[in-house]
Amino acid sequence: MEYVSHDGLRIDGRRPTEMRQLRAQIGNVSKADGSAVFEMGNTKVIAAVYGPREVQNKSQQISDHALVRCEYSMANFSTGDRMRKPKGDRRSTEISLVIRQTMEACILTHLMPRSQIDIFVQVLQADGGTRSACINAATLALADAGIPMRDIVTSCSAGYLNSTPLLDLNYTEDSAGGPDVTVGILPKLDQVTLLQMDAKLPVDIFENVMQLAIEGCKAIENYIREVLLENTKQLEYRRGL
């Protein structure tokens, strides 16, 4: 199947280096300390953060820094065919671990010893790049909760089909069987916190694809900062400043 036409257009009409439309909202879950909805094209996820709060299971308490827990689940209706087991299956457990480690790298956990931070991410619509959307949503939710972080974390995926590096794969492109590189970075510190790839790629092409994903991450960073700035302005208006 042809994923990139002769004119250089993908199946959804995008150019190879073009991302899908981004949309984000903060503060949707009123009971959570922080929450956010993040959309990348048709992929839509909601993240809720609770904490820092007292550790519920005392045996897991850490005396010098905070415990970070993360749970990733997909709604039954998020995929094309109804999903039977939304969480507890291997893929969800792996992604929960990946998101936890990614966010843990940027949260200043040593400032909150003996406490717990819970990150819950739920996929409402899955169309490729759910991992990245979840990390971006978690970043916004942590910022909304006021949890101190080293930098924001942004994530984006890229692939390689029909000899072209493609940015931000959707589900059809992801299922094509080509490589899928997911990158998570701390943009201001210019550090990579997450790098995952499946399938095979020659090293020089891999460098190009990874670089493309990093560019995508930087674009998302600009968007996230705009959203956070707008949110702060709203908070100021409400306080009457």
């Binding site: 949707n28 879950v29 009123s30 009971k31 909601i46 709604a75 039954n76 209706f77 109804r82 739920q122 409402l124």
Partner: protein
């Protein structure tokens, strides 16, 4: 509300299975009312796709292009027999809508928030349909015992609520049809 016969494809051989999954994103009291309303909205939005029976006796989904090709009279595949001409919606009769009230001493608090629910123990949920007929009444115990008059007041409140909700649903559905 739903006539299950509308979900049938081939009598005695094949029928549609409808899955309804309700997810609560933000809980602030009266979850049953919100869940029921969202379920009804979802069924109002439901469109049953076009399918055909192929010679193996299996039901297959027909894509949009094949649907237009078939209706224009060019046979895409002679063996495929369409089971329904176009995407169809379910006919919903007597739509049920509800209101939850909390009873506290001799007060009735309609549509409680989470905070109110957490400190009050007696609730009553009434479900009426669009012709104001009683579909369900649920009062699961609690320290406050309801006199008939209290229940009648709740039913009157529910009747008002049903009118409001019906209006909102109609607006949204007609807005959807324009698209």
């Amino acid at each position: 509300m739903i006539d299950l016969k509308e979900l049938s494809l081939l009598s005695g051989k094949a029928a549609w299975m409808a899955y309804l999954d309700i997810y609560c994103l933000d809980a602030d009291g009266a979850l049953f009312d919100a869940a029921l309303l969202s379920a009804i909205a979802a069924f109002s939005h439901l469109e049953i796709p076009v399918v055909s029976l192929n010679d193996d006796g299996k039901i297959v989904l027909i894509s949009e292009e094949q649907v237009t090709a078939m209706s224009e009279g060019e046979p895409v595949n002679k063996e495929k027999r369409k089971l329904n001409k176009e995407k169809r919606k379910l006919t919903l009769k007597s739509i049920p809508l509800s209101l939850t009230c909390i009873l506290h001493k001799n007060y009735i608090l309609a549509d409680p928030t989470l905070e109110e629910e957490s400190i009050m123990e007696t609730l009553i949920t009434i479900v009426l349909d669009s012709s104001s007929q009683l579909v369900s009444l649920y009062k699961p115990g609690g320290p406050v015992l309801a006199y008939t008059s209290a229940i009648q007041d709740c039913v009157a409140l529910t009747r008002q609520r049903v009118k409001q909700l019906q209006k909102i649903l109609d607006e949204v559905i007609s807005g959807m049809e324009v698209d």
